[in-house]
């Protein structure tokens, strides 16, 4: 007798040593992944690293060749319905039924999740409000822009109030305003105790959203890192000054290794360990009379790790 689904542990979603190959291609090999409840976990990796395959397995659409997946402690194979109720999945392909309206799509999905019929219209209206599609609720989905369809897709993934949310590239195609909204919404959902998995390429975004990141490459988990850890391992700053020579001279005098960037504007970049270091350096430069015109992180903390991994790969 398998474990009672009535008393689930709220421990998010995890995969242990999962492998999946398609013919000769080993899409995922012995990958470990854990997304705890109440946290946003980023899934980061280059194209073809196995992110989508992993998400499909987590969404219980694809069976792993080996390894196990548990959702709130439940095995998708034995507790199919229980697991499905707990998972909200937003695919990277925007599957919308073009001739249906946003309201109809959400209503249909709610019915497929067997939500109580009486509550469906209200729940749908609520979700449409949440993703700001109320004005377009009764328009056919084909007139929605990509970003709006993306938001509809998110509403669809959330309609049955899942405890695990799997988002495959949720930010692609969103305008900056919607990105900020998405970020706020995901933080809210995490605060409600949901475990959220986000795969994305927009790494600077993930810095703001994610509590932790899992880096995958070539079907393997390369590194698991919290955002704080990533920040602590140093970050590249870009500095530009009105007088580039003076800046270079001062940095050399301070004994710091730096790199001249060949961007549009003359700038140098260097790795600083933490925010205190950055504050101290900026103070030194200003006191030395170097006309600093910009001083900012060149990349996000996760991006730094990602680029380092990319470097290791080559």
């Amino acid at each position: 007798m398998p474990a009672q689904p009535e008393s689930p542990r709220q421990d998010g979603i995890s995969a242990t040593a999962v492998s999946r190959s398609f013919g000769q291609v080993h899409a995922v090999e012995h990958m470990d992944f854990h997304a705890p409840a109440g946290k946003v976990t980023a899934l980061i990796g280059p194209n073809g690293a196995g992110k989508t395959t992993l998400l499909l397995m987590l969404a219980s659409l694809l069976a792993p060749d080996s390894g196990t997946i548990t959702v709130d402690g439940l095995d998708p194979h034995h507790h199919r319905a229980e697991v499905r109720k707990r998972i909200g999945w937003m695919p990277d392909t925007l599957g919308v039924w073009e001739s249906l309206t946003a309201r109809e799509i959400l209503t249909q999905i709610a019915r497929f999740y067997q939500l109580p019929k009486a509550g469906i219209p209200q729940r749908v209206t609520e979700m449409l409000d949440r993703v700001r599609l109320s004005d377009l609720a009764d328009q056919p989905a084909r007139v929605l822009s990509r970003g709006q369809q993306q938001r509809l897709s998110l509403a669809r993934a959330l309609i049955h109030d899942p405890s695990v949310l799997l988002l495959d590239e949720p930010a692609s195609g969103l305008d900056p305003g919607s990105r900020v909204e998405l970020r706020v919404m995901l933080r809210q959902l995490a605060a409600e105790g949901k475990s959220i998995v986000v795969s994305s390429h927009v790494l600077s975004e993930l810095d703001e959203i994610a509590d932790a990141a899992v880096f995958v490459n070539r079907g393997k988990t390369v590194r698991h890192q919290t955002t704080d850890e990533a920040a602590a391992s140093g970050r590249r700053y870009a500095i530009s000054a009105t007088d580039g020579a003076a800046l270079a001279a001062k940095l050399t005098q301070l004994g710091l290794a730096f790199r001249v960037e060949d961007g549009r504007r003359p700038a140098v970049s260097l790795v600083l360990l933490n925010d205190d270091d950055a504050a101290r350096l900026l103070g030194d430069l200003v006191l030395a009379g170097v006309g600093v015109s910009s001083f900012a992180p060149a990349s996000g903390a996760l991006e730094e790790t990602y680029m380092n991994l990319e470097g290791e790969r080559r």
Partner: protein, 383 residues
Amino acid sequence: MSQQTDTTQHLPASGFGAGYLAGIRDVVVLELKQRLRSRGWYIMLAIWFILTGLVTWLTWASWDAQREAQSAYSNVLPADAGPGSMIFEVVLAFVLLFALLVAPALSANAVNGDRAAGTLAILQVTLLRPGQILWGKFFAAWAAALAFLVASTPFLVIGVALGGMTPGHVLVALLMLAVEVGVVCAIGVGISALAGRPLFSIVVTYLAVAGLVFGSLIAFALGTGLSQGTIMANQAQYRNYEPLQPVPDETVPEEPEYTCSGPLRAQPAVRTERVAWMLAMNPYVVVADAIPYTVRVNNRFGLSSPVGAIESISQGARYAMAGPEGTYPCANGKAQPRYLAQSTPLWPLGLGLQLLLAGLLMWLGWRSLRTPAHRLARGTRIA
């Protein structure tokens, strides 16, 4: 008391059944909403209606012209039952032809079309079971195809109204057409779940339909060549032709027309009954064989040949099914009826085989829709 216990005991099972059906209904609603909003469907329906109307009118006009020509050049007016039977048969054949052509278009991209649009995985990730998705797609495709039959009903009714046919004919014909369309839809939906690309599955479904319509004939024809055998029969002694003798009773079939005598001898014969099942799978045979017709009696000229296409097809197929044992003159020393009664219908066999094929494809399709998926077709992404 006992009734109450019964209900409580049966609640879980019936609850599951109702839930399962509700899921199918939801999928059907989703599919039909989309179909009802696509203009192509209405355009096809309008073209269908106009074409069927045109065929009906042309059939009627040609019958009328023939009749006029006959009355102009000879004094003998055939005591015909009117154009009803002819219109009915032509329209029926036409409607079946076009139904077989339309049904694959409506069904054969049901699953992989969704897969290509990325909407299949969205259904699969919900609580819907693979069977519910597949049945929902099937019923939606069938319903869409049935609309075409409904559009052609007026013309079949005209066939009745003009005489010679009963409403029962129309009812049976429509029922059989609906079943045949359903078989094609099931084949289409099953193939669409198996094939990766919509174009491929539509072509394969058309080929399957062509296989049923033409392939069954070709296979039967080739098969008969391989079914040579022998039959024990003796000599048939035909009655003398006596044209001037009045037929005593017109309502009693004067069969057989010969008597059998002499020793039984092995005679070469084609054992058509071995390959007749292929003929039975032909949708035209199934429909024609299921439609009732009154057993003809000898007419004034002493002949009892089938009248009309439906009857001819049905009789031909039954002839093949009966094989030489039932049709060869004096097989086993017995005289054979020239006309095979409808008490041994052929269509259940044909329909059964068709349902077997459709069921097999639906089952394979269901297997490919199960999640978590173990095997994927080469080059398909599940999302």
